[in-house]
Subunit: 376 residues, 2 copies
């Protein structure tokens, strides 16, 4: 049990060593803020509000730079806005005298928090400002309610804001300058890896069905993870949008294009999924279908013609895909990939000539890849 | 601009009126907690810690009962555990004297927060206890650090824990008893809706390609959302596991089975995606392929045979799917669905007899649906 857990932990660390680094970064940041808390002169200035800085660090530090920036900026600006509104509500409430004040504040809290909660259902808000809205509700309630109790409400709001800003600043600095993990880079990497996986599948399929009959079926699983990559991709795009320019990506890098490419890739993977199911069905009913194309001698030639066209198509498409993956990795214009696409298209044409049936997926692959190339 | 926003908001509310209810529920809960804060006798007991209750409500209230329970229980137990550990660290640190104390606490904070952050990368922890680990890091740092400053640390920890528990209790009560939104119910509904969407697609396809040639292509989009439903489904399953038994679902309801069914459904959708692409390609190159099956008079009969088998297959499969959707909705054993599957299988057999080519997807549909039926 313990050994299994240990192995699992080790594997997680080995899969992506940046995870270990990230853990230590969080530890470091928290310790830094704690030291800040220990140093007496500073502590006297902020009072017990200093603990907001600790709280901020624990909540804001994320794995990617984009995540930290997103949460940090959301937190800071939501606190600022909600603090200002809370003070405003406080001043209006005072006008109503001792008895009206709590009632009016209650009404304010009820309607503002309802409206803010509802805004979280709007997709655009949900994507980029979800955390900000939570903090907004929280801060507004706190300030509005505290104003009834704490005498120096302005001081309270000011201290809360400055400690939070401090915590956020420390988090952003550490996560940007010490071994940064860029969501944009991850997204880029994910896209090229996914293309590579598709290429692997086609290579594997070609070898098995149109070449030497290998027993190796590992390629069969390679595209599966691609099918479900949409959620990860969308999350990364949302985070990448927050990141400043870095290592070759500008601030205005067209992150949305990655979603378009991603959709094409998933579409390809979907077609491969169908192909794979078809192949599995073929395997099961091999005697039945395998004997079909051979009854007449005149179809024998046609059969081998289609076979070779299919083989060329899959190998050329696989080459095109892995070239595309490399091009994306090195961020160069696709050149060799075009050649392979052209070769695959030629094979597809040959195939069409020879009466297209069965491997309908192949043709569409090429069309999709063509559109993919156009997009880069 | 404002009108567009208004329309959008109206649409979001109309799509799911429970969202409006949820917003008011959050407003109500917050106002309740604020009133609690106003009432002087209680306030005197808890001191300024009472604001933790406000904070808890703002953060813990989620749309579904499962979400609220998950966050609430995570928050309570993580606070309890971290508070206890923090006190322990405090006692050990005291043994090292005035100078050693801050250093030792710094080391504790560094290593515990690093380890806890790393544990968030373990998938099982990430799924169910992610929020709890964040709160653990937060509370531990707060308690360990505060102990250096606040004299009566036990009192501090106690107050924090009791206000948080109070906030959580209010949240859980409100979200469970006032118009509850069950993640389990949503999951159940999602599964049957997805099945219905697939049935719609097949119905539409049958009408267009094997029946009267309708121009309506809306069915063409119906399966697309199914393809990307995995993330939603997994999130709902995770939340549903937290929920107590309700409206016919026991606490031990096999939620994981929904994921299995969901995977089959997505597999079906994937095959349909390929079919749809095939059909689109057909549309474009209609003259070329349309003329192919007709050259010899003896294939004419075969052609119409395959056509009718295909039409039967898709309509029977569509019926089977929508029956399955209804069965899931009413939670009864599939009976009529079996008949349709049998009919579809018979049609598939007829088709196989008539030399299977082209509509390979159909056969596999039936196989998948068969396995689906087996699972319910």
């Amino acid at each position: 049990m313990v050994i299994m857990l240990f192995k699992k932990v080790k594997k997680i660390g080995e899969d992506d060593p940046r995870r270990i680094l990230h853990s230590f970064k969080v530890g470091l940041t928290l310790t830094l803020v704690c030291i800040f808390y220990y140093v007496t002169p500073l502590f006297d200035g902020f009072g017990s509000s200093a603990m907001w800085a600790v709280l901020t660090v624990a909540v804001v530090m994320e794995f990617t730079v984009g995540g930290t920036l997103c949460k940090g900026l959301n937190r800071t600006f939501a606190t600022l806005l909600a603090g200002a509104l809370g003070l405003g509500a406080h001043h209006i409430a005072i006008l109503c005298g001792e008895k009206g004040e709590p009632i009016l504040i209650g009404i304010f809290v009820f309607f503002l928090s309802s409206a803010a909660t509802f805004s979280r259902f709007i997709p655009e808000v949900k994507k980029r400002y979800d955390y900000g809205v939570t903090i907004f509700i929280l801060t507004f309630s706190l300030v509005a309610v505290s104003s009834y109790r704490v005498e120096d409400i302005l001081e309270f709001a000011h201290r809360r804001l400055s400690t939070i800003a401090l915590g956020v600043a420390v988090c952003i600095t550490i996560s940007t300058f010490i071994f940064p993990v860029w969501a944009g880079g991850d997204l880029h990497h994910l896209t090229s890896t996914n293309l590579d996986k598709l290429a692997n599948f086609l290579h594997g399929m070609r070898n098995k069905y149109f070449g030497e009959d290998l027993v190796d079926r590992s390629y069969f699983q390679s595209y599966k993870s691609v099918l479900n990559s949409k959620a990860t991709e969308e999350a990364l795009v949302n985070l990448a949008k927050w990141e400043p320019g870095h290592s070759g990506f500008g601030f205005w890098h067209p992150w949305k294009q990655y979603l378009v490419i991603g959709d094409s890739i998933r579409h390809c993977a979907c077609l491969m999924d169908s192909l794979a199911t078809f192949i599995t069905t073929l395997d099961k009913s091999a005697p039945l279908i395998g004997s079909n194309p051979r009854p007449k001698p005149d179809t024998e030639e046609l059969y081998s013609e289609i076979r070779s066209a299919c083989a060329d198509m899959s190998s050329e498409t696989a080459k095109a895909l892995s070239d595309l993956a490399n091009d994306i990795k090195s961020r160069s214009a696709p050149a060799t990939a075009r050649l392979h696409v052209a070769a695959a298209e030629a094979a597809a044409e040959r195939m069409k000539m020879a009466l297209s049936n069965g491997a309908e997926g192949g043709i569409v692959h090429v069309a999709t890849i063509g559109s993919l190339v156009g997009e880069i």
